[in-house]
Amino acid sequence: MSEIVIPYRTEPHPLTGVTSGKLGIWLFLASEVMLFGALFSSYVLLRVGAAEGTWPTGVEAGLNVPIGTFNTLVLITSSITMVMSWASLKMGNPGAFKRYMGATIALGMLFLVVKGFEYSGKFHHGIFPATGWPGASDPSTFYGFYFTITGLHALHVFLGILVNIWLLVWGLALYKTEPERFAGRIEISGLYWHFVDLVWIFLFPLLYLL
């Protein structure tokens, strides 16, 4: 494998003040902003262009606000536990790190389970991505958006969970030899996780409340 030493892996660069990994994840998040931005913009475009009475509100479309609110709180809490797991490492407490990271993963899984219940509830009522809103005179593509946007978001949550599991189970070995570098990895994963949480905080009102 490569034994070249590439600088700024663990020490921050004087110009940017961050490590290469951290700069990299910020750039990745910038592209994700464009991704979800395009999703939101498309939703707004079609919704604004829809004729009166053809586009349901979240409640009219059968979305459950209490469950959505619960899921929002789950994700926000998981962001807090994520920060705590990183802080534990910085304070030299790998035991606390494991507990908090485990909590983050568990909460992420809980979010997905709840989402799974929401989806299966819809399917049970005969509502699929291709279904028009039953209450409308003209069809609308609300459900297409609902499933696609929340589905993409859920995929991002799932991938984040996978990364966190890897860090907790296999990545932890790096803590023994290079604690700073491992803490950096947790911080990077944390940034991604916060972003996924932030997207949901916009998604939830857009789909469920408006």
């Binding site: 494998m1 990299g24 592209s31 991704l35 931005g37 291709a130």
Partner: protein
């Protein structure tokens, strides 16, 4: 800093390597193969255009009955060839060559870095590119053929098209992922891994062009990723992101819920595809700048204005996309906005081109083969850029929209524009990669033949477009206008076939020169930039000692210096 490492096996050294030089070469070979394949697709199309309804020689007998009828091309095959030619050339040819190959190989060397910031991510980018490319190519073998709705894949046509379109979408998702990962790598590398003393305004213009290109890829591709997902949902899950209510297809109502908008696809697509065209040209401009500075033996004129223009161009490229949509029924307010931004964006392009041209004033110009290509780039890109003016204004565009004028315009920019820049780069950096020089007479032959035939293909198209001949027509002679200018069509076709033959001297040169016994000098062009500060080929880790930079990138013919070039990495006695 290179340390001796355990001997890696063949696979680890050449197939699954994380060394940017190996990855650069992998990208280069793969991209050149795809470019050649895309050229072959076009050559078949040109037969049908020049001799409509006639059996294709030799190949016609070999193709199956879904593609040809008694050897003569079928419209379905023609449309597939058209869509795939564009897709392959843009996404599997030029971008991987300009960014993946030249960028990967040269950028770390030119900034004095041991490798890219994320070598394993780099390998993943290449692998995603290969997967995407294979998915695209495999679509040719599907029963319904490859995608056939244009490289632009407008809905609803693309939504109701055959399975080849699904493969196109999946292939695009991989290709986009490859570019996104690569873009992150380039930006972090250029910002973080510059050698000591290499401040931003001492960077070679090539590095600046790669930096801006990376930002364009990073920020412009995601909306197309979204659009591809939406179109996949429309195709596979019967959603209606792009499908309006009441559609019929072949007389029967389409099974979609409706309520969608075909224009949404266009907005999302062009939001990427306009910055994408700057991705296609900027690395080429960077290469041309390097070659011109080196072969005129003086600093580039207007380096700072060129850099500021590059940054401004990158920013503006996000603001002009709807000039591809003037004819969709948009209101005058929106069309005014985009006409203004389009006019504004032409200014930094003019500045960059003008600075390159003025760099020739007061120079001492040598004419090795790379310089021939770099010099030809200037008027060819000039024609391409100038012909963008009538297209960028909505009123003349009413005549030129979707005609051969558009095809001529963008091909002038990418073909005798970017591809000539790519050739310049290959001839220029060949000694760096292989340690040998390419044969000069073969190179000059390649240049002159290519130059003549490139113009032979695309200049007639400008006149065809002026006459009003639409593009994407399986047989333009169906229209009186098309029949009247059929001579121009035939001229383009013959020029295309002769252009393909003209690449033979290049291919021979490329492979034979590698095996030459006579090695080139370490710095055969007497260049000033960092990639020439190390041995050929560079070792693992690039530099034995990390280089230090003391001056700007183009210190040629410095008054009072002992030679006519003062490399960046050597401290000059003042």
């Amino acid at each position: 800093m290179s340390e001796s490492h355990a001997k890696l096996g063949f696979l680890r050294s050449y197939v699954f390597s994380t060394d940017h030089k190996v990855i650069g070469i992998q990208y280069g070979i793969t991209a050149l193969l795809f470019l050649f394949f895309g050229l072959c697709l076009m050559m078949m199309m040109r037969w049908q255009l020049a001799y409509p309804g006639e059996a294709i020689p030799i190949i016609g007998g070999l193709l199956g009955e879904t593609l040809v009828d008694d050897g003569a091309m079928l419209p379905s095959f023609y449309n597939s060839l058209g869509a795939m030619h564009g897709t392959i050339m843009v996404f599997m040819g030029i971008v991987p060559l300009a960014v993946g190959a030249f960028g990967n190989y040269i950028v770390p060397l030119q900034i004095g870095a041991p490798d890219m910031a994320f070598p394993r991510l780099n390998m993943a980018s290449y692998q995603a590119f290969v997967i995407g490319g294979l998915v695209m190519l495999s679509s040719f073998f599907l029963p319904g053929g490859a995608a056939s709705s244009g490289w632009t894949s407008y809905a609803p046509l693309s939504v109701t098209a055959t399975t080849g379109q699904t493969f196109w979408l999946i292939g695009m998702i991989f290709l986009i992922a490859s570019s996104l990962l690569g873009a992150i790598n380039f930006i972090v590398t250029i910002i973080h891994l510059r050698a000591e003393g290499l401040t931003f305004f001492r960077l070679p213009f090539f590095i600046w062009s790669q930096l801006v290109t990376a930002f364009l890829l990073l920020l412009a591709f995601p909306p197309l990723q979204v659009a591809a997902i939406f179109q996949l949902m429309d195709r596979l899950a019967d959603t209606s992101f792009f499908m309006p209510t009441g559609l019929v297809s072949g007389g029967d109502p389409v099974a979609a819920v409706g309520g969608g908008s075909p224009l949404l696809w266009q907005h999302l697509f062009w939001f990427l595809a306009h910055p994408e065209v700057y991705v296609l040209i900027l690395p080429g401009m960077g290469i041309v700048a390097e070659v011109i500075a080196n072969n005129s033996r003086k600093p580039l004129w207007g380096y700072r204005p060129m850099v500021y223009s590059l940054l401004f161009l990158g920013f503006m490229s996000f603001c002009v996309w709807a000039h591809h949509m003037y004819m969709t029924g948009m209101g005058t307010t929106m069309s005014t906005f985009f006409q203004i931004t389009t006019m504004i964006i032409s200014i930094p392009s003019v500045i960059i081109l003008t600075c390159l041209v003025i760099s020739l004033w007061g120079a001492s110009i040598r004419f090795p083969v790379p310089m021939l290509f770099a010099l030809a780039f200037l008027p060819m890109f000039g024609i391409g850029g100038l012909t963008g003016l009538p297209l960028g204004l909505a009123a003349p565009d009413a005549h030129f929209h979707d005609t051969y004028y558009v095809i001529g315009h963008f091909h002038y920019v990418v073909a005798p524009g970017t591809i000539f820049a790519m050739f310049a780069g290959i001839y220029h950096w060949y000694p760096k990669v292989t340690g040998r020089q390419m044969n000069v007479p073969l190179g000059k032959l390649h240049f002159w033949l290519s130059f003549v035939f490139m113009n032979g293909i695309f200049m007639p198209m400008m006149f065809e477009g002026m006459a009003g001949v639409s593009r994407r027509l399986f047989d333009p002679t169906v229209y009186e206008i098309g029949a009247a200018v059929h001579g121009l069509t035939t001229m383009s076709s013959w020029s295309a076939w002769l252009l393909a033959l003209s690449q033979i001297p290049f291919i021979i040169n490329f492979f034979m020169s590698m095996r030459k016994k006579e090695r080139a000098e370490e710095n055969p062009w007497q260049a000033t930039t960092l990639e020439w500060a190390t041995s050929t080929p560079p070792p693992h880790g690039n530099f034995v000692e990390p280089p230090v930079v003391y001056s700007g990138p183009y210190e040629y013919s410095v008054p009072g210096a002992s030679s006519d070039f003062s490399p960046q990495f050597i401290k000059q006695e003042s």
